[in-house]
């Protein structure tokens, strides 16, 4: 019986948690949500493609002011994972400009979002510095 559930359906849990994209079989474009046709080439066949868990931080912001209920500050970023851009927070780091920098190497990391009344634990992901 599974006692864990991923935060989003493109996060695959298990021994080596990783993200999975829908990849267009004609042009290789990758999407984390569903598409009727590829936004690039209009192809209609997709296959599952695992995304490498290591990458480079190609942009970030440190959000200090957010919607009610969203804890701040946090680092939001875009990570280049072997040519696929992934959106995620930079975690396990001080959210300061001194500790986060453009081009820094990061790797996927997971953390608990909490457990519901039925004992199921939700697992989220972010990217942590890969020293």
């Amino acid at each position: 019986m599974s006692t864990q559930i991923p935060h989003v359906n493109y996060l695959e849990l298990g021994d080596r948690p990783h993200l999975v994209a829908n990849e267009c079989t004609s042009c290789g474009a990758r999407f984390f949500d569903r598409r009727n046709a590829c936004a690039n080439c209009f192809g209609t066949e997709f296959r599952k493609a695992p995304i490498t868990t290591e990458g480079v931080l190609k942009s970030f912001t440190i959000v200090a002011f957010a919607a009610p209920g969203v804890p701040v500050p946090f680092v939001a970023g875009i990570v280049d994972c072997g040519g696929t851009s992934v959106r995620g927070n930079v975690i396990n780091v001080d959210p300061t400009p001194e500790k986060v920098s453009l081009g820094m190497k990061v790797r996927l990391a997971t953390y608990s979002l909490g457990t519901d009344d039925e004992g199921v634990e939700a697992i989220g992901f972010g990217f942590e510095p890969a020293a």
Partner: protein, 401 residues
């Protein structure tokens, strides 16, 4: 003037700011009445109304007609994010260009004072205590704040930082100095919501919203409206010499969306569609970036202004930092950008923005801009971006009569 040219015959904006005693219909009507007067025509002459309002909830055009004149003409209620105003203008232009109407009217109005943070929040938290996958990503909890940010300041911060990753040279201080310029410009603009000059220290030490954007580096939410009357060259020839003299030629009117780019799936790409629109616009107008006497571009955040120097080809590719550091984009520079004060100080009542920036250009081309007049301005460019994305670019030229 060629018969099939498009001309702005009249244009007006309300003062941007807090108008607590007026609703969007009042604001829109004020801009429309002033634009009609400026054009020297009445609602009886207008063949089509394109009405932009993003946050109000629909039927704005029809409400406006009841306020200023109901003649039974077609109304197009237009929304296109922050490009709503430019889209309304383009809708009126297309109707004139198609030969369906002699005079078209476009208006954009918004009530946004005190709106606070835009974007973000996402899917609401559920009440029950069971993880249930919901929505497009099968998410069991809100994603905003956990998987990146949906807020506008954070999104556009990443747009500027991404440019820095690609080309180098960006810093918190650089972005703050862009904001310093626009606030300095605003002091000369009585239509701006804020006319306060800030020191660099004041900007950098103000409240951080989304690094590197502090509060004065974000567009100002405010109320306002703008409207324009357009006609063809053929129609303009039948009007008075004074109308012909003050009319402003629309040398290019372009609207684009973002074509597929790998990374636009996770961070909106505001670059490719702007570059595409600029290319088309320069070609349509037969002008080059160096011909522009002034540019009003979409500085919704200081981090956005930088990338658009490059996207609009005001500088060589990758050269936006050096270009700004050269002082070119100050009103005294070779390529004045946002002499109105830009969205950071003039304000950003969303649907009004894409017509108000054209008003600013027209004001200079008509030599009516008073203290902030850019001397002998002949050609200008107005640019807006609506996130998602939509880009509107208009190139404008004075009549020369």
């Amino acid at each position: 003037m060629a018969s099939d040219d498009i001309w702005i015959l009249g244009i007006a904006m309300t003062k941007f700011g807090k108008h607590s005693d007026k609703d969007i219909v009042d604001l829109g009507a004020e801009a429309v009445m002033a634009a009609l007067t400026d054009a020297g025509v009445s609602m009886r002459d207008i063949g089509v109304l394109a009405a932009g309002n993003l946050m109000g909830g629909g039927s704005f055009g029809q409400m406006l007609q009841k306020q200023v004149g109901q003649t039974g003409i077609p109304v197009y209620n237009v929304t296109n994010a922050c490009a709503t105003g430019a889209t309304a203008l383009r809708t009126a232009i297309m109707a004139v260009k198609a030969g369906e109407v002699k005079f078209g009217l476009a208006v954009g109005a918004e009530k946004l004072a005190g709106a606070g943070l835009l974007g973000g929040g996402g899917n609401a938290k559920k009440d029950g205590n069971k993880w249930e996958p919901k929505g497009r990503f099968g998410s069991v909890a809100p994603t905003d704040g956990r998987i990146g940010t949906d807020t506008m300041p954070g999104t556009f911060a990443q747009v500027g930082m991404e440019y820095g990753h690609k080309y180098g040279g960006v810093s918190f201080e650089l972005f703050a100095r862009i904001s310093e310029k626009n606030h300095a410009h605003s002091v000369l603009n009585p239509m701006a919501a804020y006319q306060k000059r800030f020191t660099l220290d004041e900007i950098m030490n103000d409240m951080m919203i989304a690094y590197p954007n502090t509060r004065p580096m974000c567009s100002a939410n405010c109320d306002g409206a703008a409207a324009a009357v357009v006609c063809s060259g053929e129609t303009l020839k039948t009007l008075s010499l004074e109308q012909q003299r003050r009319a402003i030629k629309v040398s290019a009117s372009v609207l684009t969306t973002d074509p597929y780019q790998e990374s636009c799936q996770v961070l909106p790409d505001v670059n490719t569609l702007t570059r595409n629109a600029a290319k088309i616009a320069y070609e349509q107008a037969g002008v080059s970036p160096s011909d522009l006497d002034l540019v009003e571009l979409h500085d919704c955040f200081a981090t956005a202004e930088l990338v658009h120097y490059d996207n609009l080809m005001l500088c060589p590719e990758g050269g936006a930092v050096d270009f700004f550091n050269s002082g070119a984009t100050w009103r005294t520079g070779s390529s004045p950008v946002n002499v109105s004060g830009g969205l950071e100080s003039k304000g950003h009542p969303i649907a009004a923005t894409g017509i108000a920036n054209i008003w600013e250009i027209c004001h200079h081309l008509r030599n009516e801009a008073g203290d902030r007049q850019i001397a002998d301005a002949k050609v200008g460019l107005a640019h807006v971006i609506g996130l998602g994305s939509a880009c509107g670019i208009h190139i404008l030229e004075r009549s020369g009569l």
